[in-house]
């Protein structure tokens, strides 16, 4: 299953690798040029790429090309197949996010005597700590859900992009407004709370995906026993 999942995620993985390399190059540039935190500001877009390149097409393409009829009739259950594909996609997502996050901290800002792990709170809420990871995983899950429900790649990509904008709105406008004054003092608590919220949404999206694929966990239902009886042929002799 791992090979199949990797083979299917390969081209999206290469796309994400290119994006990651782009961010790394930008971070290296920021080391020598004054870019006023551009790498960090732009790093929020990584999760958009994750959702659009990796998440949205993962299921939508199976439906669009009808290949789910081929792969769901192989000897592996749908749940195991989905788990395998998600595991590979999740690994790619986390690795890509870690590279970009690392590039922001170590390359772009590391050389300038700023505290590496503690950015200015206001713009750090969505780019520090767990946030980048939680956002990327949430975008992946949203892409899956959109693909499972809409069964069309274009639609799934559009919904995922819309979800990304909504998330951004939440971080930019929502959170600073809703949390009590002086939240900057509790930066990490707010930050952790926001990440927790996204991971909660992720869990909901995963459950929704399972439902959309008809994989609701089977409740133990007492089924009537069915026994086959073969009528005894009457032989004249």
């Amino acid at each position: 299953m791992t090979w199949v999942a990797w083979r299917q995620a390969r081209s999206a993985g290469y796309g994400l690798l290119a994006v990651t390399l782009g961010f790394t190059a930008l971070a290296l540039l920021e080391r020598t040029e004054e870019l006023s935190g551009m790498t960090r500001s732009l790093s929020i877009y990584l999760s958009l790429f994750v959702g659009v390149l990796l998440g949205a097409p993962l299921l939508a393409q199976e439906f669009e090309h009808g290949t789910y009829r081929m792969v769901w009739t192989q000897g592996v259950t749908r749940v195991r197949w989905l788990a395998g594909r998600c595991a590979v996609a999740l690994t790619i997502t986390l690795a890509g996010t870690a590279v970009v996050h690392g590039a922001v901290i170590a390359l772009a800002e590391g050389g300038r005597g700023r505290p590496a792990l503690l950015p200015a709170p206001v713009d750090g809420l969505d780019t520090a700590g767990l946030s980048p990871y939680a956002r990327a995983v949430w975008m992946l899950a949203l892409g899956l859900l959109a693909g499972a429900v809409l069964r069309r790649t274009v639609g799934a990509v559009a919904v995922t992009a819309g979800g990304w904008m909504a998330t951004q709105l939440l971080f930019d406008n929502g959170l600073p407004r809703w949390v009590p004054d002086g939240w900057q003092d509790d930066f990490w608590a707010v930050q952790l709370g926001a990440s927790g919220l996204l991971l909660g949404l992720t869990a909901l999206a995963v459950v929704g995906t399972l439902f959309a694929l008809g994989l609701r966990p089977a409740l133990p239902v007492r089924r009537p026993a069915v026994t086959l009886v073969r009528p005894t042929p009457i032989r004249p002799d």
């Binding site: 199949v4 090309h65 009829r69 081929m70 000897g75 009537p224 086959l228 009528p231």
Partner: protein
């Protein structure tokens, strides 16, 4: 112990949204049969096949493959191969990668079978599937299903986009595999002639209902092509049913279903070809001859088991 049927449907109904696709379908296919599923376009053949392989779940009734529910059961997934009508494959995978997928996802996979078949057909292993011709693609998809070495192979119009030579190849490969492994084959088609020489069991689906199901010999023996004076039609014994009748002036030609031909010697009786029988049923969508699977069912705890006797039901409902 009675051998479990390869396919058992009891009272299966399925709706696509509000449109009923299948109504009260019951059939039982013994293992080892090669079943031709025949029916006009839109009769519900594809829906029925999807139910068999677990891609759909019935709204009513039950589907059992070797006694178990298909779809979620890994033991059944490994034993059932399916070839969908449009032969879906991953276009970016090469032929070799497609076979690797089969090997990774199926525990009974046979590399030798796959390599032998693809080699014999001259399909380049390193070519991406999307760059193959339509016929080659079909062959790759069929090979993927065969090399799984299933106990039940379900094929939805497998021959539709193959030329006559390739059709013959596919059918003889299927027959060889059936002879070797004893697997059950269910294949759908709307071309009767295609199936007559290869199938030994027939399921005729019309407008979402099973009109006719049984071994070809039984079906043939149970039908008689009669021709004679039209005045005799009313006097036919009650033990039979007129499936379809044509009348030209005083002369009537009809397909009569009964265990034995009518006693009246004025009828000229002939054993009809399977094609004629199928055609008669297609022209009379309300006619049906359903062999009901015998089922001993515990209706609910506390009630006595009720045995449904096998009936050659005359009419639909």
């Amino acid at each position: 112990m009675a051998e479990l049927p390869a396919v058992l449907l009891t009272g299966v109904g399925y709706r696509h949204g509000r449109t009923p696709a299948l109504r009260d379908c019951s059939l039982s296919v013994p293992p080892g049969r090669v079943v031709g599923l025949i029916g006009p376009n839109g009769a519900g053949k594809t829906t029925l096949l999807h139910l068999m392989v677990g891609l759909l779940r019935p709204d009513r009734g039950e589907v059992r493959i070797f006694g178990r529910e298909p779809g979620g059961d890994p033991a059944i997934l490994d034993r059932v191969a399916f070839l969908a009508q449009d032969k879906p494959l991953y276009g970016s995978f090469t032929v070799a990668e497609t076979m690797r997928l089969g090997r990774h996802l199926n525990s009974r996979w046979s590399d030798e079978l796959a390599a032998e078949r693809l080699g014999r057909l001259g399909i380049p292993a390193d070519r991406p599937v999307r760059r193959l011709s339509g016929g080659q693609r079909s062959q790759v998809a069929i090979t993927l299903a065969m090399a799984k070495r299933p106990d039940l192979m379900v094929l939805d119009e497998p021959l539709a986009d193959l030329d006559p030579l390739r059709r013959h190849e596919v059918m003889s490969d299927l027959m060889a595999l059936t002879a070797e492994t004893g697997m059950t084959v269910v294949l759908s088609s709307h071309v009767v002639a295609e199936l007559e020489e290869t199938c030994d069991h027939l399921v005729l689906l019309g407008d979402g209902r099973v009109q006719l199901a049984g071994d070809l010999d039984e079906v043939r023996a149970g039908h008689h092509a009669l021709s004679g004076p039209a005045s005799l039609v009313a006097a036919l014994p009650d033990a039979g049913t007129v499936v379809h009748a044509t009348r030209t002036g005083e002369h009537a030609g009809l397909l009569w279903r009964s265990d034995r031909p009518p006693p009246d010697p004025r009828w000229a009786v002939r054993t009809p070809a399977i094609g004629d029988i199928v055609l008669a049923y297609l022209r009379a969508p309300e006619a049906s001859a359903l062999p009901r699977p015998t089922l001993l069912r515990q209706v609910s705890p506390g009630l006595r088991p009720v045995q449904t006797a096998p009936t050659a039901s005359e009419e639909s409902r």
